[in-house]
């Protein structure tokens, strides 16, 4: 186990270094320049543009830029081209905004997908199974933005309540309980939309796993020796069917830094996805590369955690 951890950390560090190089290069070699250096602004002279390039370190050789960038990144000195705010502060702010959607979305996904999947597996071929199958494929194939518009128009017209943004505008003076619930309400639609894909996909997966386990010998044995059905399904079978999902907890980690550009734009949610998208449009290199690197880091850590989790939950696996 200890040997595995050491080896794993070594290889993951190497992976991270390679990713740091690649993500840095992709951004810098792609066409376009930071929007501060606008080549079509008649007021800019060549030496003004040169001053910007110097201030942004863009006049130095790529290798130097690479080291300068990560030096600033790790010392927290990195600043956005756009407004000179420290990158880490900006990322943190957006992270805290995106976090509630992520948490509620994940809770919804897991809470709904399991009952749906298990129910479908137990009633294989029956009405519930067919309905959930249909719903799952519908949710997977409907584009998110379309569903979002439908939901917004429907809620706004029928319930006459605001759904855009993080909170209702002008509720600053309201009592705390109103404010808390107001923020919760604003979470409902975006996180539900964020979860739809996950629910559809995960419930299919749960159904598949469950069916596989239900067909195994020990389940048949347990049933034939007269154990209660619920005990067999929910204690013996589910425990084994749920094994692969444990590893998925680790893979949730990168989702923390993600955030859907489309959902966030439609709902005017000041989240991570929008910041990243706008950074790409204005070629705000520090933000783009930092987000790339942080999410790569989270992926690497996530896979590491799921490896460890697997060992813990499944006694058959030894490293």
């Amino acid at each position: 186990m200890a040997a595995f951890i050491v080896r794993s950390i070594f290889f993951k560090t190497v992976t991270l270094i390679i990713i740091s190089i690649v993500s840095f290069l992709i951004v810098h070699l792609a066409p376009g320049e930071p929007s501060q250096i606008d080549p079509l602004n008649p007021r800019f002279r060549k030496e003004d543009i040169a001053r910007y390039r110097e201030a942004f370190d863009l006049d130095k050789p790529l290798l130097r830029q690479y080291f300068l960038f990560y030096k600033k990144f790790f010392t927290g000195e990195l600043k956005s081209f756009k407004d000179n705010q420290p990158v880490m502060g900006k990322v943190m702010e957006r992270f805290l905004n995106s976090l509630p959607i992520f948490i509620v979305g994940t809770v919804l996904t897991w809470c709904l997908a399991f009952p749906m999947g298990i129910g479908a597996a137990l009633a294989r071929g029956g009405g519930f199974d067919q309905v959930t199958t249909f719903l799952s494929y519908l949710l997977i194939s409907l584009p998110g933005f379309f569903l979002a518009y439908l939901l917004i128009i429907w809620t706004v017209n029928w319930f006459e309540v605001p759904v855009l943004g993080i909170r209702t505008f002008g509720q600053e003076g309201a009592p705390a309980i109103y404010q808390v619930n107001d923020r919760m309400w604003h979470l409902v639609l975006p996180s539900l939309l964020g979860a739809t894909g996950g629910i559809a996909f995960l419930s299919r997966y749960v159904r598949g796993q469950m069916i596989e386990v239900l067909e195994s010998d020990y389940v048949r044995t347990a049933l034939s020796k007269g154990l209660q059905e619920d005990t067999v399904y929910y204690v013996h079978a589910l425990r084994n069917a749920a094994l692969p999902f444990v590893t998925m907890f680790g893979l949730l980690l990168p989702g923390l830094i993600g955030g859907s550009v489309i959902i966030e734009s439609i709902f005017a949610w000041p989240g991570m996805g929008r910041m990243a998208y706008e950074a790409v449009l204005t070629r705000d290199y520090p933000i783009i590369v930092s987000l790339n690197f942080i999410s790569a880091f989270l992926v690497v850590v996530g896979t590491f955690i799921s490896d460890i989790l697997y060992v813990i939950v499944d006694p058959r696996i030894r490293l």
Binding site: P31, Q36, A50, D83, Q85, V156, F169, G170, L187
Partner: protein
């Protein structure tokens, strides 16, 4: 147990989430129930502001907010003429200097001759001269930016110019022909022509030739004197004075601040503050667009000077040496002299401003100005319907749909910009003006305006803002006439063979490029492709991503024809876009337009301080450029606006009674001009008259 949990958990989570619905105020409670809502103006903005500092911002969203928080010395009135804001009035005059030819008559002798002629009332320009002096020798330190050899970037090379005794002439009005007039009076050989003897301390090579160009043997120094408004307060109660103007200028020129406005103020020689309410700006050379730059928002010196910044750096535990204006918290909570005071900014969510009660022009009617950031066009429209925002960036199709709706009022006014097809004049067949004219005449611009822009556009025939005086209304657009276009091509030697124009066996074909993602331009490309096909011109259309488009096509001049647009300022200076010296790679005259007469007029315009004369030059230039057809000018778009009909202009009449007036666009199409007087009423008002 597990089974129950699996059933109970989803239900509990859903119930918890959905119950929150009952705590949220409905639209009717928010909009109708609240008196305070009528005193708020909520604008839906597509993008967030970046930096709320007038000398650093480059984006429109920041500009809109900064305009509310800051004032410039001047701005434009309803007819686009300059009017005073923080300045009440101004004078512009000129100080001119010249170096007498070494070995020729001395400065003193020349002065005598000019004075003599003046006393005799001889030259017809004598009325303009206020003073003629001889000034003693002086040394001037200066520097030039020289490209680094074999590397990116520039080096600052400093040098000294040792001027001998010079003649100084002070004029009542700026006169760009002064030296020609003086040559006529004193003879051309009275003036020094070789700058080399006066230059010291500059190295050889490029730096030397650049420094030589900086030696001013004959120099125009226009001077602007601003008289500032007294008693104007910043939002923190500090009084605005000439020190703040000087500070704002210094902050722009400070290289550490990386201000994008540097080029605007580079022609300034020095800014002087003779007293608290007077600012004297002396320019290095004739450059009339410089006047308009004083519309820039003025910064409070007492909050941003070196001392204040060092204090802020220490509070934040940052290195004071590296801490510049760009890093200051001021950029996210600005303090200016404008009608609205900054209150709150939540990134990508909302910016709130509140009325500044002590605004020098009287406080605005609205108590609060709010900019909500709603990036999506459809949800913006939804928010507008539900009444949670008062205005949004409505597309022409949305305006069209709501034009007849009794709940809303619709505005449309000409924008400051135009869309065009630019031809690479270096390439055949575009070298021939007849071909360019033919191409223009084949395009039905009316159709483009009617069908692609819902009629929210007009013809434009030249490079000036259409609603400004500089635009020459007597230039009529070429008619849409495909037959005449074919005749023109025929005249130019092209023959139609099997429906394709050919000359020397080669067909008339080229590629039209535009940027990806602009649906209107894409549609235009298809429309003109079709129109040109009808006269026998084969066109391939190519769409590329913006950055690639600029880098691989425009900057390297590697294209046949492009569809692009210019957004213009009101100043008629066309140097960067139309002067023949700006045709290199990476420069803005990328079509390669060259016309000596146009060059002459472009220089005249940027050196002319008298508006009438400037307008006359601009009219000539407009006609020349349209005649040459380096672009096919397609249209000038209209900016559309949509407001709740309950919003009106509130004004006090003489007896102190408040009267309401319908919001109308100014002559130039700007309906927000009287924003500070706007007010939302509980019901749709009935206007008198």
């Amino acid at each position: 147990m597990v089974k129950r949990l699996l059933l109970f958990l989803p239900l509990a989570v859903s119930a918890l989430l959905l119950q929150s619905y009952f705590w949220v105020p409905t639209f009717s409670v928010q909009v109708k129930g609240s008196e305070a809502r009528l005193r708020q103006f909520i604008n839906a903005s597509t993008g967030d502001a970046q930096i709320l500092n007038p000398i650093l911002l480059t984006d429109a969203a920041s500009g809109d907010i900064a305009d509310m928080v800051f004032n410039g010395l001047i701005d434009r009135d309803e007819d686009l003429n300059y009017r005073g804001r923080l300045a009440t009035s101004w004078e512009i005059y000129e100080e001119a200097f010249f170096v007498p030819r070494p070995g020729g008559p001395s400065a003193g002798a020349l002065r005598e001759r000019i004075e003599g002629a003046r006393a005799a009332g001889q030259p017809e320009w004598a009325w303009n001269v206020t003073q003629v002096e001889v000034i003693p020798p002086a040394e001037v330190k200066a520097s030039v930016a020289v490209p680094k050899r074999g590397q990116q970037g520039f080096d600052q090379i400093s040098f000294t110019v040792a001027y001998p005794e010079r003649v100084k002439i002070t004029l009542k009005e700026v006169d760009q022909d002064l030296f020609d007039r003086l040559k006529a009076l004193l003879g051309a050989d009275a003036f020094a022509t070789d700058p080399a003897p006066y230059l010291t301390g500059a190295p050889a090579g490029l730096a030397r030739s650049q420094s030589l160009a900086e030696v001013q043997l004959a120099e125009h120094n226009p001077v602007i004197v601003f008289h500032l408004r007294k008693g104007v307060l910043f939002h923190d109660g500090h009084e605005f004075d000439s020190g703040d103007v000087r500070f704002t200028y210094d902050a722009i020129m400070n290289p550490a601040n990386l201000s994008p406005r540097v080029a605007d103020y580079e022609p300034v020689k020095r800014v002087e503050t003779p007293d608290r309410y007077t600012v004297r700006v002396v320019y290095k050379r004739l450059y009339s667009p410089a006047f308009g730059t004083w519309g820039m928002g003025m910064l409070p010196e007492h909050l941003l000077n070196a001392e204040a910044l060092a204090g802020e750096a220490r509070r934040l535990k940052r290195d004071p040496q590296k801490f510049t204006l760009r890093d200051s918290g001021f950029n996210r909570s600005p303090i200016g002299t404008g009608p609205f005071r900054f209150k709150e900014w939540r990134s990508d969510e909302v910016i709130r401003l509140v009325r500044f009660e002590k605004y020098w022009e009287g406080p605005p009617q609205y108590a609060e100005y709010v900019s909500r950031i709603l990036p999506d066009a459809l949800t913006q429209e939804l928010a507008f319907y539900s009444g949670t925002v008062d205005s949004y960036t409505a597309g022409v199709h949305q305006v069209e749909r709501l034009r007849k709706d009794p709940r809303f009022q619709v505005f449309s006014g000409l924008a400051f910009g135009y869309t065009y097809i630019g031809y690479n004049l270096r390439r055949e067949p575009f070298g021939d003006v007849r071909v360019r004219r033919a191409l223009t005449m084949a395009v039905n611009t009316r159709q483009i305006q009617e069908f692609l822009l819902y009629g929210e556009a007009e013809d434009i025939t030249g490079p000036f803002v259409k609603q400004s005086d500089h635009y020459n209304r007597s230039v009529k657009p070429l008619p849409h006439d495909p037959q005449a276009a074919e005749r023109l091509l025929h005249e130019a030697g092209w023959r139609k063979v099997n429906g394709v124009m050919r000359k020397d066996g080669k067909p008339l074909q080229f590629t039209l490029v535009t940027n990806h993602g602009n649906e209107v331009r894409k549609a235009i490309a298809v429309a003109v492709q079709d129109a040109w096909k009808k006269i026998g011109v084969e066109v391939k259309v190519d769409m590329v991503e913006w950055a690639v488009f600029i880098q691989k096509y425009i900057n390297t001049l590697n294209y046949d024809a492009v569809i692009l647009g210019w957004r213009m300022g009101l100043d008629p200076d066309l140097y960067q876009i139309w002067h023949s010296s700006q045709t290199g790679s990476g420069q803005l005259n990328f079509v390669g337009y060259q016309n000596p007469e146009a060059d002459r007029l472009i220089i005249k315009i940027r050196q002319e301080y008298n508006k009438e004369r400037q307008v006359a030059y601009a009219h000539q230039l407009h006609r020349i450029i349209y005649g040459d057809q380096p672009y096919t000018f397609l249209y000038v778009g209209k900016a559309t606006g949509l407001l709740d009909r309950k919003i009106a202009i509130a004004e006090q009449d003489k007896s102190g009674k408040t009267r309401y007036r319908k919001i109308t666009a100014t002559k130039t199409g700007n309906y927000t001009f009287h924003f500070n007087k706007w007010l939302k009423l509980p019901g749709v008002p009935q206007f008198e008259g």
